[in-house]
């Protein structure tokens, strides 16, 4: 501990040395609007003595010893100025904007602005210009395809949880989501779909980050490596997404901006269905008397959970709605569930500034309706205020407040949940439709009309299962900044993220799958506070520049959730705890976590060419056992601007090489160390207690991830082309994970420290200005980003070779030692090991092998290509988003095959129907065997058989092999079976439902028109921009079946590679109008 503290203090000490230097010449740098320019570089020409301007645009330098000293003042986006300063003590500099981006200054950890060229790690700024135009209700969708190394997986639902992973998963079992920091306020952003399994699904409450209003976002910076994130500590271990909101700076008078956006959503693809055979079984509508309606004598078409019935010719049947009707094709039965979804977003902002400070006030309102009318209805109000005020020349205060009210009605239950109306398409029989599914219940009893199997009436689900949740959220941050002298700053920052969510779910009584209904309510509160004190030094002395920070922080987060659940409703339709016919079950969850931290960093530059950066941090976390709760982690990095060594040329404008090594320590979630008993309930009049199924661990130690990273940053042709290349490798060790363990341990899960995940990959960012569009001529920019992160499982806890991360029935996705993260395993036809024949038993049905490798969910590479064009007042851009590689097991495809609704299940049906139903042949006859071993005369094919198959027998060692003749040749099999049975086999052969989930997707299209200034003159309107936008218009490339989005996943967790009952892919289109006054 002492040594660590010393290191922290030593880094701090380096600042003190510089603090005692002399200073003689002062100045202020302002832009053309009179605003101070912060971070402008000021150097003497021909030397590397210089500094950068502070938050007020001020700088100080020693008087140069040169004869005629000339100061060179430069800043990104402005024309570099040269000012002779011989004999002067005070200089005022006015910078005028330039068209060519020169030096980039970016916001880094803890809000510290740095010259980009000094950075020793990868950081990428996201172009947020069109976030408010090409809008989605979760702005994270807009990041897709725009940042190298960042993979966004949309949940497919506008109110669901997206998955954002930077440089791959570093943790086997935690959610791997980055830290979101908005204006320095650390947000608590737990995923809203934790624990939702593929089979059961449930309600996805979305990620709280989606509540940020895209209209408020000024810029987004993605910090990727450990070097970038070590100053955020443990919580930044998965990378950090820094969001800076718009401020009122640089506003003349009062600036008013109004933005109205209207987006429409429609289904992009429907599945390929067969509309020949209706509900039924083995080519029949009724198998026994129980299937016949006693009054009318008609078969009940609702009896069947599969569509292997008769050809639909208008036979009389009793429909699901208990009314007599005809057995007819209903080709629109899926389309009619959907309508056009509409999302309207309105935003008004007010801003202003003066010499003392500035403010911005913004209000946004979003009103959204889903493609299934009545579902996923969202109303969101955002109010945000952003202000800063200078108390004196040396003391400044800032305040950010965001208030969000988010009301969502009828979130769609996910995956295989029987309440999921969006998955009805898997089981929808071709003779079912809105007409015969409604009414879906007996009006008197309220009980849903019953039918067998997994098909639940989508209309019951839409109208009788309701839910609602309302989140109120306040993000508050305040800074108090004191600058005792030029280049020195004390900063105190206090931030709060308060979030409360009240939710209720009513599953009305009467459903087939839950006759007595269910009601539950939840009251959740999460408060996250952080207090930070920072002392920074930002100096340049002679050839040495330094940016150094010493800080401490206290982080505290508390969570509580109160739930009440009623498993039996007394009356139909009342959403209240009072509507109770049974026992209410009460749940209480409470947790608290605190982290205290001490940290320091120093970035030393020499001649603006060589940079060295060091950081150190020590955390004390309440979540770890007392003996292990303190952990220290450092980073070191270096940058060399190599273009300084080569003569100025027209090709290479700028080039740097960088390398860094960083560690991040990590704690865990609260309440994971002490094993305690749970109250179970009462049995026969006495209470009982049990041990939970998860074993906690009193000996946890902090996890560590170690990243080594090299990269270049280069500009060519006068900065018209930018090319960045990064290679990194991250090893995460001593992972704290909740492992599935053998029940023989007494627990199904245990917390352990073990396992190593290795991530490595290249990232490429290429930006090119193909036509520069001078004087409003044609301009064309192209941006490419590409990354190929690969995550490997280097080791797992002793004795374990696999960790299961997700499951669809008996198929699993997991981590296996020595393999790529995300191995998918499951069931496949048993094959002869030599010839590959499919092995069957003597009724023709396939034999199976379990636990067979089916694929891997990890993508080979991801990338994005964005082209933007402009001509005069018209802009046009489009973004292609690409993912190559990675497999997806489609549970939807398995179940739809089993249910006989996919078009491909028509195979051999007619033959089966003719042989079995029309001719009445039995299994042997269809195979050509008559009674008592005689041949059956009819040799016409009567059904399906497995091609290239052979009878499975056991060899001497007990292995399944193909039957062979005396010469050892495989005896080919041709055993016909009923086509339905064949398709069952097909459904069971999970490997046949694994698809390459690659895609090339036209992600965004934006056509904008800015009204010419001359039209607006005199109206008081500064600008009007109209944009026609669209998202997800087209798959240029995809391999999954129609109706299955290759991005679909069962949840946002690590168990990638499984989809079941995912929503049909949608596309959005609409208009955006922005008016500025």
């Amino acid at each position: 501990m002492n040594i660590k503290k010393h290191i922290v203090l030593m880094l701090f000490f380096t600042q003190a040395l510089i603090y005692s230097q002399n200073k003689n010449i002062r100045g202020v740098v302002k832009n053309d609007k009179g605003e101070p320019v912060i971070g402008a570089t000021v150097v003497y020409k021909g030397s590397s003595i210089g500094t950068i301007t502070d938050f007020d645009g001020l700088f100080e330098l020693q008087v140069a010893k040169q004869e005629a000293p000339v100061l060179v003042i430069s800043y990104v986006g402005f024309v570099t100025q040269e000012i002779p300063v011989a004999g002067q003590k005070k200089v005022n500099v006015l910078l005028v904007p330039s068209d060519i981006v020169l030096e980039e200054v970016i916001v880094t950890a803890l809000g510290i602005k740095r010259e980009k060229k000094s950075l020793t790690y990868a950081s990428q700024t996201v172009d947020t210009d069109d976030f408010s135009e090409t809008r989605t209700s979760n702005f994270l969708n807009n990041l897709s395809g725009k940042v190298a190394g960042v993979q966004i997986t949309s949940s497919g639902s506008p109110v669901g949880s997206n998955r954002v992973v930077i440089r791959g998963a570093t943790s086997l079992t935690e959610d791997n989501q980055p830290l979101y920091v908005i204006d320095g306020i650390q947000m608590s952003t737990p995923q809203g779909d934790t624990g939702l399994t593929s089979n059961d699904g449930g309600i996805d409450y979305g990620n709280p980050i989606s509540q940020i209003n895209p209209d408020d976002i000024e810029s987004i910076e993605v910090l990727k490596g450990a070097g970038a994130t070590s100053l955020y500590g443990s919580q930044g271990a998965n990378g950090v997404i820094l969001i800076t909101t718009k401020t009122g700076r640089n506003t003349n008078g009062i600036g008013i901006s109004i933005n109205q956006n209207l987006m429409f959503t429609d289904i992009l693809e429907y599945p390929n269905y067969q509309y020949v055979y209706g509900a039924g079984q083995i080519g029949r509508l009724a198998l026994n008397a129980g299937h016949i309606d006693s009054e009318t004598g008609y078969p009940n078409s609702s009896r069947w959970d599969r569509a292997y019935g008769l050809p639909m010719l208008g036979q009389d049947v009793i429909n699901v709605n208990k009314e007599p009707g005809q057995y007819f094709v209903q080709p629109d039965n899926i389309k009619e569930i959907y309508s056009t979804g509409i999302t309207s977003s309105t935003n008004i902002s007010l801003q202003g500034s003066s010499e003392k400070g500035s403010y911005r006030l913004s209000y946004g309102f979003l009103d959204s309706e889903h493609t299934i009318s009545g579902m996923n209805e969202q109303k969101r109000n955002n109010i945000s205020f952003n202000g800063n005020y200078k108390l004196t020349n040396k003391v400044e205060s800032r305040v950010n407040v965001t208030f969000v009210n988010d009301l969502v009605k009828n979130r769609i239950p996910t995956n295989g949940n029987p309440r999921n109306p969006a998955s009805a398409y898997i089981f929808m029989k071709p003779n079912f439709s809105k007409d015969n599914l409604i009414p879906y219940k007996d009006e008197l009893s309220g009980v849903a009309y019953t039918y067998e199997g997994p098909f639940t009436n989508p209309y019951w689900n839409i109208y009788e299962n309701t839910n609602q949740d309302e989140t109120n959220r306040v993000l508050f941050g305040t800074d108090l900044i004191y600058r005792p002298a030029k280049g020195y700053m004390f900063k105190l920052k206090a931030t709060t993220d308060f979030r409360s969510r009240v939710s209720e779910v009513l599953n009305n009584k009467g459903a087939t799958y839950d006759l007595d209904g269910e009601y539950r309510t939840g009251d959740l509160t999460a408060v996250t506070n952080r207090y930070t004190g920072l002392f920074t030094v930002n100096k340049r002395v002679k050839k040495v520049s330094i940016v150094s920070t010493l800080g401490a922080s206290l982080f505290n987060t508390r969570f509580s959730n109160r739930t009440i659940r009623i498993d039996q409703l007394a009356e139909s339709g009342y959403a209240t705890v009072a509507n109770n016919a049974g026992y209410p079950v009460v749940g209480e969850v409470d947790s608290e976590k605190e982290i205290q931290s001490l940290f320091a960093s120093a970035s030393l530059g020499y001649k603006s060419t060589y940079y060295l950066e060091l950081t150190a941090r020590n955390d004390w976390s309440s979540t770890l056992p007392k003996a292990n709760n303190s952990y220290f982690y450092p980073s070191i990095g270096t940058t060399v601007v190599f273009s300084k060594f080569i003569p100025k040329n027209d090709i290479l404008t700028f080039g740097k090489l960088r390398g860094s090594y960083g560690e991040v320590g990590n704690d865990t979630a609260p309440n994971r160390t002490l094993n305690l008993y749970e109250y179970g309930g009462n049995y026969l009049g006495n209470a009982y207690f049990q041990l939970p199924n998860t074993k906690l661990n009193e000996n946890l130690v902090p996890e560590r991830s170690k990243t080594i990273e090299f990269g270049t940053e280069t500009f060519f042709f006068k900065r018209r082309i930018k090319f960045d290349l990064t290679w990194y490798q991250t090893r995460t060790e001593d992972q704290i994970m909740e492992l599935l363990t053998s029940p023989g341990t007494g627990y199904t899960r245990q917390f352990v420290n073990a396992g190593v995940l290795k991530n490595s990959g290249f990232e490429i960012v290429l930006n090119a200005t193909i036509f520069d569009g001078k004087d409003k001529g044609f301009h064309w920019d192209a941006n490419i980003n590409w990354s190929n992160n690969q995550t490997y499982v280097e080791s797992l806890p002793e004795g374990l070779e696999r960790v299961e991360l997700g499951r669809f029935f008996n198929a699993t996705v997991g981590a296996e030692v020595g393999e790529k993260f995300g191995q998918i395993r499951g069931r496949a036809y048993a094959k002869d090991p030599v010839t590959g024949h499919t092995l069957v038993s003597n009724n023709g049905r396939a034999l199976f092998e379990n636990d067979v490798y089916l694929g891997n969910a990890q993508a080979d590479w991801i990338g994005g290509l964005r082209n933007s064009f402009g001509y005069k007042d018209i802009t046009f851009s489009f973004l292609l988003d690409v993912k190559m590689g990675g497999d997806l097991l489609s549970g939807t495809s398995v179940k739809a095959t089993n249910a006989g609704v996919y078009e491909k299940t028509l195979y051999a049906r007619e033959d089966s129907f003719f042989g079995e139903v029309v001719l009445g042949e039995n299994g042997n006859e269809r195979r050509g065997n008559g009674l008592y071993g005689n041949d059956y005369a009819d040799t016409v094919i009567k059904g399906a058989y497995h091609v290239n198959s052979a009878l499975g027998v056991r060899d001497a060692e007990g292995n399944l092999v193909a039957e062979r003749d005396a010469e050892g040749n495989v005896i080919e099999n041709r055993r016909y079976m009923n086509s339905q049975v064949y398709h069952y086999d097909d459904a069971n052969n999970q490997i046949g439902h694994v698809y390459d989930a690659s895609y090339v997707r036209l992600r965004e299209v934006n056509l904008g028109y800015t009204l010419p200034q001359n039209i607006l003159s005199g109206t008081g309107i500064q600008s009007v921009k109209i944009a026609a936008v669209a998202r997800n218009l087209w798959f240029l490339y995809k391999n999954t079946p129609e109706g299955i989005d290759p991005e679909a996943q069962t949840n946002s967790g690590n168990g990638r590679g499984i989809e079941y009952g995912s929503p049909l892919p949608t596309f959005n289109y609409g208009l955006n109008v922005n008016v500025k006054f």
Binding site: V395, G681, G746
Partner: protein
């Protein structure tokens, strides 16, 4: 406020934050406030018994064992079709450990050296032994000696190792239990009666010793325990009061029996999935005019009408054709299915087109009510075990025949049928030393005949007496192969390595598939201990090798028939009249 003060405050606050490092409250902060450190041991025991009722008596029994024991008919689903689903098998295995064994073992570890708890520690051990006995008889090798340890992976023990330890534990427990000693304040098993705990302990030991007695691997072990435990035959379950019967609770939805919750309350289950009477079990009860048939089963809702040929009223030679309803009807294990090789025409199948309500179901009050009973072990069963032990030559104060009859009497008493027992004991095949030609089954493939062989009689009567003790029935059959149940003619072959189109009752359940991932190398060793592939078709060491001869596929004299039902009320029209049965006379043209 003066500026100087603000600056001062900033700097002081900054220094304060830097120097704050109070981590003393961390431990309390990181302790879940909604959980308990050390609840009363009896309340932990209470939970273990509840879970045993719901899981072993509920889930395992209803989803697998009852089908395998031949106590219920076709169930459908993967387990019912002699296959399995990973998730179900995982749950079956897992909950035994995570919801029962671990709590009791933790209690044992915490209190084993405290003399004030010596009886309670033994009772916890006996209960765990019972749970382990179910596991080992279901899966074969299981986690035992290394279970509930500190390692993440756990080795398996062979069947022999497990039985050795289980029997030894029971032996020690019966010695260590002290009638005057401590007891659980809350004891849902025997309400604190230690002498009954001793009886349970000895009877269970006898049961396990007999279970392994046919195994060449474990016959010595069986022999040593059988000879020892039969010396304690006075301290075994004697009357039905001693039975270990677990119950649910009608007033608490969370303690409803599995069967009520799953099959009665939950309407998502279709009528065809609610357990129905097993045809072959009914056939056997009917063969011996067993009054327990009616005690065990409810009359079918919409009973089956059959056509029959009876003696005309008042005549001893003239026959008439009549139709009437029979109150009980069962499904075979595979429902209507037959094998294609038999050449039976499916349109003649008497099962064809029958609605689900023609089948009877097990007695609602006893087996489907909210508080339905689950018999862990009974006195009747104990007498049949004693009979078998005596038959094998072990000591015993009474004769084999006497134990046999006591078993029947105690079983009849258990179901309130004592007044019928005298007549029953005179029936051919029931009466000691007699045989019965039986009745052929609906396909003429199996029949209910019984030989005069003593073991045949003991086993058949034990099967009758142990109704709804699914595991015990399944074990008895796998050991003796004397119970006349049919194979599954239409099994689900998607999961198993079976290559035949029919399936005998599973020899075991597969190891929990999750073990392949969470416990890989031990899993592989477990497969080695098993001595065959990890499949339903691999016999356990307690199982007797079995090959049905002739193979069902080669049976050529299969024939649909109504023998089971015909003459249900007697051979004559007079019987129908005497019993007040409605019937129609069919005039043949």
């Amino acid at each position: 406020m003066k500026l100087i003060n603000i600056k001062y405050i900033i700097v002081v606050f900054f220094v304060t934050i830097l120097s704050v490092s109070c981590t003393d409250e961390f431990e309390q902060m990181n302790t879940d406030p909604n959980k308990f450190l050390s609840p009363k041991p009896s309340l932990v025991f209470n939970g273990a018994v509840r879970e045993t009722y719901l899981h072993l008596g509920g889930y395992l029994n209803n989803e697998a064992f009852l089908t395998y024991a031949g106590y219920i008919g076709q169930r459908g689903g993967s387990l019912g079709n002699f296959s399995y689903e990973d998730a179900r098998v995982n749950t079956m295995y897992q909950r035994c450990y995570t919801d029962v064994i671990v709590t009791l073992q933790t209690f044992i570890d915490d209190y084993k050296d405290d003399p004030k708890f010596s009886n309670r520690v033994e009772m916890a051990k006996i209960w765990n032994t019972y749970i382990y006995s179910v596991l080992v008889a279901t899966f074969g090798p299981i986690h035992y000696s290394d279970a509930i340890g500190t390692e993440l992976v756990v080795a398996y023990d062979s069947e022999k190792e497990v039985y050795t330890e289980l029997l030894e534990t029971l032996k020690q427990a019966s010695i260590n239990l002290n009638v005057a000693g401590d007891k659980f304040v809350v004891d849902p098993v025997y309400n604190g009666n230690i002498s009954q705990w001793i009886k349970f302990c000895n009877s269970l030991r006898l049961k396990l010793a007999l279970r392994i007695s046919g195994s060449s691997d474990m016959s010595e072990l069986a022999d040593s325990h059988l000879s020892d435990v039969m010396l304690k035959e006075q301290e075994m379950l004697e009357t039905n009061v001693d039975n270990v019967v677990l119950i649910g609770e009608a007033s608490n939805v969370l303690n409803w029996s599995y069967a009520y919750d799953k099959f009665i309350f939950n309407t998502g289950v279709t009528i065809s999935q609610i357990p129905m009477a097993n045809f072959h079990f009914l056939l056997n009860l009917r063969t011996f005019s067993d009054p327990r048939l009616e005690a065990y089963h409810d009359v079918a809702k919409d009973s089956l009408t059959i056509e029959d040929v009876l003696l005309k009223s008042g005549s001893a030679t003239e026959t008439i054709n009549v139709s009437y309803k029979i109150p009980y009807y069962g499904k075979t294990i595979s429902g209507t299915s037959t094998l294609g090789e038999w050449g039976l025409d499916s349109s003649d199948n008497p099962y064809q087109g029958l609605a689900d309500d023609v089948y009877s179901r097990p007695n609602f009050e006893k087996f489907f009510a909210e508080d339905a009973q689950f018999d862990v072990i009974t006195a009747a069963e104990t007498y049949f075990m004693k009979a078998e032990a005596k038959l094998l030559g072990y000591s015993g104060s009474e004769s084999v025949e006497s134990y046999y009859y006591k078993g029947i009497e105690t079983s009849f008493e258990h179901y309130g049928l004592s007044s019928d027992v005298a007549a029953y004991k005179e029936i051919d095949g029931v009466k000691w030393g007699t045989s019965n030609p039986g009745i052929r089954d609906i396909f003429n493939v199996i029949d209910s005949s019984i030989s005069a062989d003593p073991l045949d009689q003991i086993v058949r009567q034990r099967w009758f007496a142990m109704f709804y003790q699914g595991l015990d029935g399944w074990c008895l059959n796998r050991r003796t192969r004397l119970i006349p149940t049919q194979p599954h003619y239409n099994p689900d072959n998607t999961q198993t390595a079976r290559t035949t189109v029919y399936a005998e009752v599973p020899e075991r359940l597969v190891f929990p598939p999750s073990e392949k991932g969470t416990n890989t190398s031990n899993y592989e060793e477990a497969v080695a201990l098993l001595g065959g592939i990890d499949d339903l078709i691999t016999p356990l060491k307690i199982n007797t090798f079995y090959e049905r001869i002739p193979s069902p596929e080669t049976i050529l004299d299969a024939e649909y028939n109504y023998d089971f039902a015909s003459g249900w009320y007697g051979d004559s029209e007079d019987d129908l009249i005497a019993k007040g049965i409605n019937y129609d006379i069919i005039i043949l043209e």
